[in-house]
Structures are given as C-alpha cells and as structure tokens.
C-alpha cells in the first residue's frame, strides 16, 4: 500500500472541497476543535483547582500528623521522627477542645499548644498583631467574634473540677496577640494557638491529645515517610499523612472530574458525526475518481484507507487546533486570572489552569480515535462501490 500517495490524495481531497462539502468539512473541523478545546480547558480547570488546593494545603498544613494517646516518651518520639532524612522539621503539639468567649459571642474551638520556640513557624501566616505571649486566633474566627489584637477573651475548658456546688469549668482570661490566616477552613475558623506551657498550665495534663506536626522536604513522599514512621514509632502512634486527611475531598474532586470528562466526551462523539456526514458527501462527490483509481489498480482496501485517512486528517487537524487553542486559552486564564472564585469558599481567589499529561493524552487520542471510527462507515461504502456501476451511471 502506497501510504504517501494515499496521504497526498486525502490531503488534496480535503483541501479541494467545494460548495456544501467545504461547508460540512469546516463544520466537522470546527466541531472537533471546539469539543477538544472544551474538554481540555474544563479538565485543565479541574486539575488546576486540585493542584492549587493541594499546594494550599501543603504550604499551610502539616504534611504528616503523628498522634499519641499518652505523653510518655514525648522527647524520644521527637528524636525518632527528626532522625528521618525526609523530615524537614517537626514540633510537638497538644490539642484541647475549649470554648472561646468574647462579650456575648461564644465559639467552640480547638486550642493547639505549641512550644514557644516553634511559634516562629506560624509567623508567616500572621495578618495582624504579633506572635507575642498571648493567643493567636484564626482570621475567620476573629471576624465572626470581632476579635482584634490586644482584645481580652475568655477560654473555657470543659475539663473543670467538682465542687460542693457542682461541676465548675475552668475559665481564664487571655489576651489576643495576633490574627493568623492560612486559607484552610479548620485552621482559620476553628483553631486558636497558644504556647504549650500555658496550655498545659491552664488545661492540665489530662484529656489532651499529644502529637507532632511533621513537615517534609518533599510532601509528595508523604505515604512513604508515613510507612517509615509507623515502623519507627510502633503501635501507639497514629500516623496520618496529608493524603489520608484530605482523601475524601480529593476523591470527590476526582470523581467530579471523571464525570465531567465523560459528559464532555459526548461532545467529541457528536462532533465526530459531522466527519461521517462530510465523508458520505465526499464519497458521493468522488465516485468518479474512485472508479478511475480502481480501474488503474487501486485496491478496495486502499480506497477504504483513502477515506479513513481523510477522517483522521480532518479530525487530527481539528484536534491539534483545539489543543493549541486550549494552550492559549490556558495561558490567558492563568495570566489574566479569568476564572475568579470567592476566596472565602474556595481558599483561593482564582482557579489556575493546569494541563495534566494523562488528560491531554486521553483527550487527544480519544478525539483521533473517534475521528477514525466515524470515518469507517463511509470508507466502507466507498470501498464496496462497484466500478462498473459508477461508470455506467456517469
């Protein structure tokens, strides 16, 4: 089979389209272009959101959380965690549940006690005030309760004491020294940070949750490091990576992405029907040529390939144009931040576009495959046409 010749004929037949065949060819090309572009950009926005979310989570939250049921051997655990080569830094935390009150406003919060020297890691997230010696309150919580640096607030611990007059919770007034913002809901709306010594002093040594917040050099190795930590720390330690903690969220996003992909794939399928129509017109238009080429020795399967190639070429050009325009569209969206979203809901003010190689490969290969598939029927018809019938009807 002379592929070069078939390619030459196919190209020329597409380029030399006239009248309604030209119009249908253009519509088929446009259909593939737009559908490929729609799929790629939508997938790009979805992937971009996932990536941005991941980056946000990784830059503000610990990559691994180690929880310990008891405080025994706390320092030993810290040494063992810090000895792993993948660990960038780690610090212990104690976590209590408490009620934060200011004037008539009351909120349930998680109080995280961090060593004074480790507080420095939170400095990057301060939006108001300073680290100081007081409480650090999340921005969302501060907004709801109208808290500002320097304000006095009450912390109420449910772990109180029994008295002859009944159960009395512990209550103490603290000064707010700063407001922090990480961009994640649980930290900005539900967390209060304070020094570990003060937390232990106020809440006591019971009912708390001990643990470590671990940051890695490469957060994407979290699962490997998690396994290493599990081996190193034994059964008492509960080790959870950022992947475990956010699994439901990313699973939901992925499921949504897959769903949308299949819905959008229908667009590509429908647009490839245009190729079928165009090729049927083409077969009708080129009957005489088919007869002549067959007379001069072109085989039936070569006629078949001649029309399949036309479908592939048209679909391929549409696909490539769609791909290039998607890249351009992606660049514009990223450059001019065109997809804007409410920052308080989505943790970001715009969604970037990120093209994942797998999305590109599946979409482009799928479009090409569908173009080929849609050309099979007209190509079959062309190859089965009798030369004598054509010549007799001319």
């Amino acid at each position: 089979m002379n592929i070069r010749l078939l390619l030459k004929l196919s190209f020329r037949y597409i380029v030399a389209s006239r009248g309604s065949t030209l119009l249908v060819s253009f519509i088929a090309f446009l259909g593939v272009l737009l559908s490929v572009m729609a799929v790629l950009l939508t997938m790009g926005v979805f992937a971009g959101f996932q990536h941005a979310l991941k980056e946000k989570i990784l830059s503000t939250s610990p990559h691994i959380i180690v929880s310990l049921p008891i405080a025994d051997g706390f320092e030993d655990y810290e040494k063992r965690i810090g000895s792993l080569k993948d660990v960038q830094r780690e610090y212990p935390v104690v976590i209590y549940q408490a009620i934060l009150s200011k004037s008539s406003s009351v909120q349930s919060v998680s109080v995280k006690g961090i060593r004074h020297k480790d507080m420095v890691y939170k400095k990057a997230f301060l939006v108001e005030g300073s680290l100081g010696n007081g409480l650090l309150v999340g921005k969302g919580l501060a907004d709801i309760m109208n808290i500002k640096p320097g304000d006095a607030v009450l912390l109420i611990s449910p772990m109180g004491r029994r008295t002859p007059f009944g159960f009395l919770p512990k209550v103490k007034e603290f000064t707010v020294s700063g407001i922090f913002q990480t961009g994640t809901f649980d930290q900005d709306y539900l967390t209060v940070l304070m020094s570990m010594s003060e937390a232990l002093d106020f809440f006591g040594g019971q009912w708390q949750l001990y643990g470590f917040e671990v940051f890695l050099k490469d957060p994407y190795r979290a699962q490997d490091v998690k396994r290493e930590l599990e081996e190193k720390l034994g059964d008492y330690a509960i080790v959870r990576s950022w992947i475990d903690l956010n699994k439901p969220l990313f699973n939901a996003l992925q499921l949504e992405k897959v769903g949308i992909f299949f819905v959008l794939l229908l667009m590509v399928i429908v647009s490839s029907f245009n190729i079928t129509s165009m090729l049927f017109m083409k077969v009708r238009e080129k009957m005489k040529d088919i007869a002549v080429l067959r007379t001069f020795g072109l085989k039936r399967r070569e006629v078949f390939f001649l029309f399949v190639l036309q479908g592939i070429i048209l679909g391929g050009v549409g696909m490539l144009s769609g791909f290039l325009l998607s890249m351009l569209g992606g660049y514009m969206i990223n450059e001019y931040r065109l997809v804007r979203v409410p920052a308080d809901v989505y943790l970001m003010d715009h969604i970037p576009v990120f093209f994942e190689v797998s999305d590109l490969v599946i979409t482009l290969a799928g479009a090409l495959f569908l173009s080929m598939l849609s050309s099979l029927l007209p190509a079959h018809r062309a190859s089965k046409t009798s030369v004598v019938e054509i010549l007799r009807n001319e």
Partner: protein
C-alpha cells in the same frame, strides 16, 4: 504470435434479465490494433469491462496475456490491471482536483513506476501537452483531456490498452489525432489495442474490426 486477449463463450446477463453478451468468442493477437464496432447497446462496454477485469462474466472464460482473469480475486485483478492493462474512457475521467502532471504522476506512483516525474514529462511532450503541465483538466479542450487520459494510461507501460469510445466526445479532427496516437503506440511500442467505436470513419486505422451486435460477434 500469441494471443493478448481471448474469450470463450462469454455471457453477461444483468440482474434485470438483460443479456448484454451471449456467448462471445474473440481472440486478439499481441501487437494487434483491433476495433470493436457496433451500435449503442450492442455490449461493447460490457465486453471491455470484463476484459479489463472490472466486471465479472455470468459465464465463460477470459484470458488476457495468457492468464485467466475471470478466476482472479479483486486484489489480483487490481494488481494485474496495474501491471498489464490500461483503460481509456469516453469521458476521460481525469481527477479534477489535480493538474495534468499530477494526473499522470498519481497513476505512476500507484504502480511504483521508477522516475515517474521524468516519464510523465516525456509522455506529455510526446502527447504535445508540455505547455499544459500545470493546467487543471477543466482548463483543457476535449482533445487535450483525452490526450492526458492517454498519457495517464501510458504511465503504467501497459501491454494492452482497452479504449471505450475514446473519441465519442470529440470532433472528427480531434478524433483522428487521437487515433493517430493509437497507431503510433501500436506501431512503435507494440501495444495491443482494442478500441470500441461506432464511428465508421475511424475504422481505417484498425488492423482488424470485430463487429458486435446484440451481444454476439458478427464477424
């Protein structure tokens, strides 16, 4: 001299019952310039199509250059045609999207003819079409188009040329020019020619004339 084309009791009955050929027996020797004459509907085109392997007989046998072609598969026929037989049509059937040179080159490339560009140019010069190389078929006269069609047929270096009313669309002057070319090809290149025509004025070019009437050979 051996036979270039031979048929034995060739029948062709169409599905609607029309008997186009009714036991045709003919023999054309290699190097012969033979005419196939007869009125419209006498079965000339059907006979040529069967000889070219484009159509199958209902019954009977066909040999071309010693090979029985009625037993061949579609692919074998296509290959056989490409190597041995060229067909010239009444309506030229040039590829409208391609220029004169490309019309020749496409056939040359199909048959993997060596130096097809050089050969095509030589043929166009021989056919006095050197100044029409880049023209599209629609820009040529009928006679020129038929000469291009002949050039296309010659690209395959065929041993046999079958022509179905090749001058049916041309005036006598142009028709004579085409037949002179046929005669040159027959004489110089020893190509066997079987040409169907109903124009008696052209019969003088033939070495022998086969007359077909109602699907039967008369002489």
């Amino acid at each position: 001299m051996s036979e270039a084309i031979k048929t034995q009791d060739l029948w062709k009955v169409y599905p609607n019952g029309t008997k186009a050929l009714r036991g045709v027996n003919i023999s054309v020797k290699e190097g012969e310039f033979c005419g196939l004459m007869g009125p419209s509907g006498s079965g000339k085109s059907t006979l040529l199509h069967i000889m070219a392997g484009l159509d199958h007989p209902t019954d009977g046998k066909v040999w071309v250059l010693g090979e029985e072609i009625d037993k061949m598969s579609e692919d074998q026929l296509a290959e056989f045609r490409m190597r041995n037989i060229a067909f010239v049509f009444q309506f030229y059937y040039l590829l409208e999207d391609f220029n004169v040179l490309e019309n020749l080159l496409i056939v040359g490339q199909m048959a993997n003819v060596k130096d097809s560009q050089k050969k095509a140019m030589e043929l166009l010069e021989f056919l006095r079409l050197s100044d029409r190389v880049k023209h599209k078929p629609s820009q040529l006269s009928g006679g020129e188009q038929q000469r291009v069609a002949l050039g296309r047929a010659l690209m395959l270096e065929p041993k046999v040329i079958l022509a179905d009313e090749p001058t049916g669309n041309l005036d006598l002057e142009e028709a004579i020019k085409i037949f002179e070319l046929f005669r040159t090809l027959n004489r110089d290149k020893k190509i066997t020619l079987l040409v169907a025509t109903h124009n008696v004025e052209l019969s003088k070019f033939f070495g022998r004339v086969l007359k077909l009437r109602d699907g039967l050979i008369e002489s």
